[in-house]
């Protein structure tokens, strides 16, 4: 596979390490009343669609960016690649 890195252009996926569902960015609030349930869902009930999947890849043998890759799990076609940090900030993490 080839991942079109937003900064570096097309790179062999072999340079990357896969983590999984981009929902792992959305770490719950540890002080919320439902924290136990929220952390359970966050950790264990991830998206696993047959189709478009937003997922985290780490460019370990490259620039060490975490990326959010939108990929079709049936065809493997990749339609979008973003820096995970940008995604995280846009989703309001660390406010």
């Amino acid at each position: 596979m080839i991942i079109n890195h937003p900064l570096l252009g097309p790179r062999d996926a072999a340079e990357f390490v896969y983590l999984g569902d981009a929902g792992l960015i959305d770490r719950p609030d540890w002080q919320a009343d439902d924290a136990a349930q929220a952390f359970h869902d966050y950790m264990y009930l991830r998206d696993n669609p047959a189709g478009l999947h937003r997922e985290l890849w780490f460019h370990e043998q490259g620039d060490r960016s975490w990326l959010v890759v939108t990929r079709n799990t049936v065809t493997h076609e990749i339609t979008n690649v973003e820096l995970a940090r940008d995604v995280a900030i846009a989703q309001g993490r660390g406010q």
């Binding site: 596979m1 080839i2 097309p10 062999d12 390490v17 983590l19 792992l24 960015i25 770490r27 719950p28 540890w30 002080q31 924290a35 136990a36 952390f39 359970h40 950790m43 985290l56 780490f58 370990e60 060490r64 960016s65 975490w66 065809t75 493997h76 076609e77 990749i78 820096l83 995970a84 940090r85 995604v87 995280a88 900030i89 993490r93 660390g94 406010q95």
Partner: protein
């Protein structure tokens, strides 16, 4: 030379090459393949079939060959199952036939053929079940010995292989008319082109057929095209290169045979290179493969594909026999007849299944006729033809050239599970719309059967492919070439045949397919699996469609309704050596050496693999005959005076930024926010699921600067996870991370004399007395006259200890200096074994205890997990199942009396049953403690921390041991920790 060697062709008649087949010496010509040379020498019998051990000869002239498989070369270089059709002849080549018991002519396993009716499809699922024990003892060994094809030497492969990586705008697969036209078009447009051709000559059918291109022979035109391409820097011509797989996003795998046409590779050169090709676009111009027609005894040596017979005659100046009958259902068979006649080969008859077969000047054409049978034990001697009027006629001949039509070579087009579609025009499957991303198809591979249409579609294919990536190309002028229409009739097999082969290599006949249908195995997948159709080394390239046609007829459906033929990578089998490249033997993985490695090797250290690192395990001294002697000495010397150990392998991550402390506070389960500058703290990391993950230390060098250490094993993943936390979870924090693991050589100096030793090398302006530099202090210092260094007062051994780090290039000098200065203290280097003993004596956990299933609670560190802050793993560590009353707890073990505790033993009550139901825990670590003069161990035991003093059995039924042990505190030595604070 024999009567089967013709004149002309693309072989060099002036360059004879000697070779042997089954021990007999023959002569071939430069430019021959093993198959063409054998045919020229009147050798038709080349192998035996898989199941019935039927005599077999060559069927094809390419990599689709199912029959002529040989063991090529000898000794450690023996290659079983090598297709004689793809072996480029070289002087001194040796080949042997395979899958035979006795000689090729008198194969004792030919008896299988006599009893063939007992070996129908799937027979083995129905028998060999009684008596039960006989399957493994008798039946299966018998089957295994009869099965298989060639054999390997089991010696280490003496050749080397490379991998490589190529990039291009357009990958053109196949250098026949379509491929050459495509490469010329794209090359002239300035695109980066790779032209890969499986054969050692470019040209494909252009050099196998007699047609002309404008006023040139095919071969001459290929020559000029190749010459033009060779002048283009942007075009890479790769003959002897098979593109074997189409992977995601335009990645292709290709094998280049660098040395297979040589007796042995040149010095230092690889046998093959496995290329990973990154293409923006790929144009598959892989041609077509002729299909046979199934008829009675159609597998005899001499029964061949017509296009192959033609290629042997035209290109290789060889014929399988002086007299060849042609059997066809299409016009292309007539071309073969014409070419053979032109080459002086006798064609007594063309048997054409079509009632309206065209005539041929000077050659008899039997329209509406079929071949009903063949005769000849080891090669065709005659065919029996069933005429249109129902009469039969026997025609003597030495070969039969069969043409059942041409199938586009679909391989690469369906490697991503794309489904081909049916073409009524050519009665075959052509590539469908769901091709791999960036791939298109041209020429015969796309059902364009004439030379003209192949050239035109190749050129246009290149134009279109380049346009889609924003490059402009012109199709240009094409040479004039034949443009005959296709004329083929749907004729797949001769009715009424008793044994008509569909899959030659796996011995699948029309009858087997009928039986499969009868027993309910009707889907393509069931048919394949039940009969093994298409499962042989040729993946059924010549068999699958006929098989489908037979099944379609049985089910009353059309062929495309019945199923499609798809292929999986690789297109042709690939030597595993090529896929492994240089990552074999000692170079399987890179080796990481510590800064003291060369010094340690000089000391005679024994080394041990720790991940990719090689670490000194112990340092034997003269007279020590057992490793334990060395280890005991190293431990005692360290605990009594001072020892030194290279601990560079621990991960070292530099953490900087205004929020560095806040960040570590989230990464570690225990608190870091208030750690003072100049201090080190032990830290425990959890996974987000609450399980203990890694431990180490964090040293605060400045308000905004920490150095974090990780375990050796987790250095990479911890760094990765910290980046995840930084970039994805807390992007607001001002924190920067970078690994410095390799940049610093780090040594542990431990023992009562550690300070005294260090004071000799630390530059005098730095005070490292206990008051100035107490336990858990850290600082930046200089040593050896101004060399920058870092000093940490931390201890894994439990002794007064420091870890000192210098830039890696000075690591070798530092250990030598320490050893020199340490002589007065009898400084003893110690390895990982002594390190392990001392940490067990102190009850420190390592990977054996932080094994990915244990919690801080299990490890006795439950109270370290701060409940007052958010940190990774905190919330999920609170789940009930991880906090039960009988949760495992880490304890120490001592044997009651003598005896050796074995790691991996399970713990049972002192009496009672020994079984899984009574299992109470397991031993994680064990060692002999020379201080305690006893075996000791660490173990996880249910509710262990409340059971100290209890006696249990450590059972090891695997090795037959059982030992009474007492549960004790895990801190065997200096439990109060006085020594490390001295």
């Amino acid at each position: 030379m024999s009567i089967n060697r013709l004149t002309g062709g693309l072989i060099d008649h002036a360059s004879p090459l000697q070779f042997t087949f089954d021990g007999k010496t023959f002569e071939g010509r430069k430019g021959d393949t093993l198959a063409s040379a054998l045919l020229a020498n009147d050798v038709r019998l080349m192998g035996r079939s898989f199941k019935y051990h039927r005599p077999r000869g060559v069927l094809s002239a390419g990599s689709e060959e199912p029959n002529a498989l040989v063991e090529l070369r000898s000794g450690a270089r023996r290659e079983p199952n090598t297709r004689a059709t793809t072996v480029e002849l070289f002087d001194g080549l040796t080949a042997d036939s395979q899958n035979r018991l006795g000689s090729l002519k008198f194969d004792a396993l030919g008896v299988n053929d006599v009893f063939h009716r007992f070996f129908a499809a799937g027979f083995y699922y129905k028998t060999f079940m009684w008596p039960k024990a006989f399957w493994e003892k008798l039946y299966e060994p018998m089957i295994r010995h009869a099965a298989g094809l060639g054999s390997i030497s089991l010696q280490d492969d003496p050749d080397v292989y490379d991998k490589g990586f190529l990039h291009c705008d357009l990958l053109v697969v196949g250098a026949g008319p379509a491929g050459l036209a495509a490469a010329l078009t794209a090359g002239r447009a300035g695109a980066r082109v790779i032209l890969a051709e499986e054969d050692f000559l470019l040209g494909g059918r252009l050099i196998a057929d007699t047609g002309t291109l404008t006023d040139m022979s095919g071969a001459d035109w290929v020559g000029t095209a190749q010459a033009e391409l060779a002048t283009m820097d942007n075009v890479r011509i790769m003959p002897r290169t098979t593109v074997v797989g189409a992977y995601d996003h335009g990645v292709y795998g290709a094998v280049e045979r660098i040395s297979d046409h040589l007796a042995v590779p040149e010095d230092g050169k690889p046998r093959q290179v496995f290329w990973r090709i990154y293409s923006k676009r790929a144009l598959v111009c892989a041609g077509a493969i002729e299909r046979p027609i199934a008829f009675e005894n159609n597998d005899r040596p001499g029964v061949m594909l017509a296009g192959a017979v033609r290629a042997y005659a035209n290109r290789w100046a060889a014929t399988p026999a002086p007299s060849v009958v042609v059997f066809t259902n299409n016009d292309d068979g007539h071309r073969t007849a014409a070419d053979l006649v032109a080459k002086g080969v006798s064609v007594p008859t063309i048997v054409d299944t079509r009632d309206t077969a065209p005539d041929m000047q000077g050659t008899e054409v039997l329209a509406g006729a079929q071949i009903a049978d063949t005769k000849g034990r080891l090669g065709v001697k005659s065919v029996t033809v069933k005429l249109i009027n129902g009469q039969t006629r026997v025609i003597p001949c030495g070969a039969v050239a069969v043409s059942g039509g041409w199938n586009p070579n679909l391989g690469l087009t369906c490697h991503q599970r794309g489904r081909p579609v049916w073409s009524e025009k050519i009665l075959s499957f052509v590539p469908g719309g769901d091709l791999p991303q960036g791939q298109s198809v041209a020429g015969a591979a796309n059902g364009e059967t004439s030379t003209h249409s192949a050239l035109a579609s190749g050129a246009q294919g290149a134009v279109d492919a380049l346009e889609s990536i924003g490059l402009t190309a012109q199709a240009g002028d094409l040479p004039a070439a034949e443009d005959r229409p296709v004329s083929v009739s749907p004729f797949w097999y001769v009715q009424g045949a008793k044994r008509a082969w569909v899959d030659f290599q796996n011995d699948v006949t029309v009858k087997d397919i009928k039986l499969s249908h009868q027993e309910g195995f009707r889907s393509v997948e069931h048919l394949k699996r039940y009969t093994t159709l298409g499962m042989a080394t040729d993946q059924g390239k010549t068999a699958n469609l006929t098989g489908l046609a037979v099944m379609a007829e049985l089910t009353g459906k059309t062929i495309p309704e019945t199923g499609t033929t798809i292929f999986r990578p690789p297109y042709t089998p690939v030597a595993m050596g090529a896929l492994a490249g240089r990552s074999v033997g000692k170079a399987f993985h890179p080796t990481r050496l510590t800064p003291s490695h060369h010094w340690a090797a000089e000391q005679g250290a024994e080394f041990v693999e720790v991940g990719n690192w090689l670490r000194a395990q112990y340092f034997p001294r003269p007279g020590e005959t057992h490793w334990r002697q060395a280890v005991d000495r190293e431990v005692l010397a360290t605990r009594s005076s001072v020892g030194v150990c290279d601990v560079t392998t621990l991960g070292k991550i530099d953490v900087q930024g205004a929020d560095a402390a806040a960040f570590l506070n989230k990464i570690y389960a225990n608190g870091f926010a208030k750690l003072a500058v100049g201090k080190v703290r032990y830290g425990l990391m959890l996974r987000e699921d609450g399980i203990a993950y890694d431990d180490g230390t964090a040293a605060r060098l400045a308000e905004d600067h920490f150095v974090v250490t990780t375990t050796t094993a987790n250095a990479v993943p911890v760094y990765r996870n910290m980046e995840f936390a930084r970039q994805c979870l807390w992007p607001d924090l001002d924190v920067q991370l970078i690994s410095t693991t390799e940049a610093w050589a780090q040594y542990a100096v431990a023992g009562p004399n550690a300070r005294k030793l260090l004071q000799k090398i630390v530059d005098p302006e730095f005070d490292i007395t206990n008051d100035a530099f107490p336990f858990m202090a850290c600082g930046e210092i200089t040593v050896g006259g101004g060399l920058r260094a870092r000093l940490f007062r931390i201890s894994f051994s439990g002794e007064l200890a420091f870890e000192i780090a210098v830039p890696t290039r000075y690591g070798d000098a530092l250990i030598r200096r320490l050893m020199d200065e340490g002589q007065e203290f009898d400084l003893t280097p110690y390895g990982t074994e002594a390190l392990g003993v001392m940490r067990i004596e102190k009850g420190h956990a390592t990977g054996a205890e932080l094994n990915g299933t244990t919690t801080a609670l299990n490890l006795g560190m439950g109270r370290m997990v701060s409940k007052k802050k958010d940190c990774i793993g905190n919330t999920l560590s609170e789940r009930d199942g991880l906090n039960t009353a009988d949760a495992l707890a880490l304890v120490g073990l001592k044997p009651k009396g003598d005896g050796q505790i074995m790691t991996g033993s399970h713990l049972m009550a002192a009496s009672g049953p020994v079984d899984a139901a009574h299992d109470q825990g397991y031993v994680t670590s064990a060692a002999y403690s020379p201080i305690l003069e006893s075996s000791i161990g660490l173990a996880f035991v249910k509710n262990g921390s409340n059971r100290l003093g209890e006696t249990m059995r450590a059972v090891n039924p695997l090795e037959g041991g059982e030992l009474l042990v007492e549960l004790v505190s895990a801190h065997f030595v200096d439990p109060e920790g006085g020594r490390l604070r001295d």
